[in-house]
């Protein structure tokens, strides 16, 4: 999995000494500026992370083994991978909450409520999170099943559960 991380100075957490942010969710926020509730993940040093997850190299700060570990994985310090997980979690939440899959010439895209004005927006710029590439085929299960399984669950856990 490859994750592209942008550098933004907009999310500054005064509780931390290091003010320069590493804000993974900015990727999503840039899809529709101010349309997604701000994601208040703690700021981290500005770094560049390359490589695959298990072989990540961190540069840009004076690193020690402990700080690298913090940057990468410390949940309390909003380590890099924690942010990625939050990012994916947000995406999944959007998909789950508003499961509208609409056809396009190239396949399907997700229509979701991402604005605060309650209008429906086409979240077709999910492509900026190309990292989640397997979301397109879910290990070779048709991606439409994402929405359908939720509809079916809604039926099974809803009215069907009241029929005996």
């Amino acid at each position: 999995m490859t994750v592209t991380v942008s550098n933004s100075a907009s999310s500054v957490n005064p509780d931390y000494d290091v003010k320069t942010s590493l804000d993974g969710v900015e990727i999503v926020q840039h899809v529709n500026v101010d349309s997604i509730p701000p994601v208040t993940i703690d700021s981290m040093p500005e770094v560049t992370v390359t490589g695959v997850a298990t072989e990540a190299t961190v540069s840009g700060i004076a690193t020690s083994a402990a700080s690298i570990e913090t940057i990468l994985s410390d949940a309390n310090e909003a380590g890099f991978f924690s942010r990625v997980l939050v990012l994916i979690g947000f995406l999944v939440d959007y998909l789950r909450a508003l499961p509208f899959v609409v056809p396009t010439a190239l396949g399907h895209k997700v229509q979701a409520l991402i604005s605060t004005d309650s209008t429906m927006n086409i979240l077709n710029t999910v492509s900026s999170v190309t990292a989640v590439s397997n979301l397109t085929n879910l290990n070779n299960i048709d991606s439409r099943e994402i929405a359908w399984s939720m509809w079916l669950n809604g039926y099974n856990e809803g009215v069907r559960s009241k029929i005996i």
């Binding site: 509208f100 609409v102 929405a147 359908w148 079916l152 809604g154 039926y155 809803g158 009215v159």
Partner: protein, 516 residues
Amino acid sequence: MATDFSGIKPKLDLPAWHATPLIYSALHVAQTATAGSTLTYDKRASQYKRNNIYFLNSATTLFKYNTKQNGWLQLASPALAGTFGIGAYNIFMPSMGPRGTIAAGATTTSVILSTALPATVGANQLVGQRIRIIGNNAAGSGLTVVRTITANTSGTTPTITVDSAFGFTPGTGAAYEILAGRLFMLNAGTVAAGIWKYFDESTTSYSGNLSTTNLPATIGTGTTMCALDELHTPITGPSGVTINGEEGGYYGTLTATAAAATTITGHAAGGDSGVTANQWRNFQIRIIEDTVNPTAVGQRRRITSHTAGASPVYTVPAWTVTPSANAKYYIENNNDILLWTGTATTTYRYDPVGNAWDATTYAVKPAANAAGTVAFQAFGSSIRPGYIYNFRGGVTTTLDIFDITAATTGSWTAAVPYDNAGLATFSTTAAHAYSVLENKALLSPVSLASVPTNMYTFEPDSLSIKGYAPCPQIPSTVTDGDRLALDHYIDGTDKKTFFYWLPSTQSYMLRSLFYV
């Protein structure tokens, strides 16, 4: 096992849709609805109804979806003549199937067919189908029984074994009728041999080219059909008798009090004693038991007219064999298929047994239909089962009603006012499905690109339209065709309806449990 639906609380529980599997061809190509494609289904609420939804997607592409097994099956090509597109239409007739006489050698639980089936069947291919045995041979039983087939030999004149004894041994020449149903398919375009065929469920074979005499030169847009099958019966008849969607017409078994060459007289009390004059005109009387005159049993006659009860006298075309005074009979639908097409106001009528069209049995419409027209008989109504509701289409809200009982050839009422007529106009993408269980229809008058599809319920008895949960699927473009269908969940007398909707540009149906 009963099914308890009492836990469902309308309003607390809101209707919704969910998807069914993708439609793939036998060659694993996803199928998207094409213009003119239709969904067709068995309208009965009977325990014996077929659990199939048929999807005709081209002149050569026919699928059926099994509502129990949740899967699609592509059938052999129907090879219809014509030009597939808006105007093509299907209709399912559940009582139709191979008919004929039986040979010598029957037992109390088996018969050997004499009249050959239209195609060879394999051993036990007919298992589960229903067969009607009519003891109308000379010196026969004079009884009609319906049984479920449990075994059959192979061939075109198989030995057929049933699940329980007939109660008599059918004699040579007794009649059989396999009640497996037939899907009648009409393609659009220039009328030619092969534009009108059926798919026979019992033998899973297609007919040859059915008659097209008396059809117009072209099957155009604005086509819709209505099946008046004798097995289209209500849950509760007008007298309060429970039919539950099974065989039995509108009153269950009735016993005559007199009969003559062109008449039969009904109950003095109970039964059909409460009918009003001509309440059942153009329905049929079918003799189901006559032990005095066995050769009279099985006869069907359209009711020309009748007096009011008590002891209503039904006038019919002359009987071939006059029933005895106490023969038993059903009052039921007459097995006609009605067609309206193109810019013609003609009501075309097809006799599926006689394989003949005519344009004279029924009255012409007050105005022609247009693309987007839909029509259905509210055969589940305890008030007006003889009404056919016809939304005219053509981007209008106009509703015409055809009362087949109101005159010899029926009578149309044009542009009937109805509740909430509003702005729900019927365009080329209109679709409908009528459910006898609730005596309501689900309507989808129009589909538009890039928005969910609005759905409405229509209540025939109160002439009222109400909003229903819209289908969330958003088509990128719209494709013409009547692609709403339904199936009933049936557990004894506990029944519920599922509506099915195949949206434009999609490769799957959505399903909605109907409980409001």
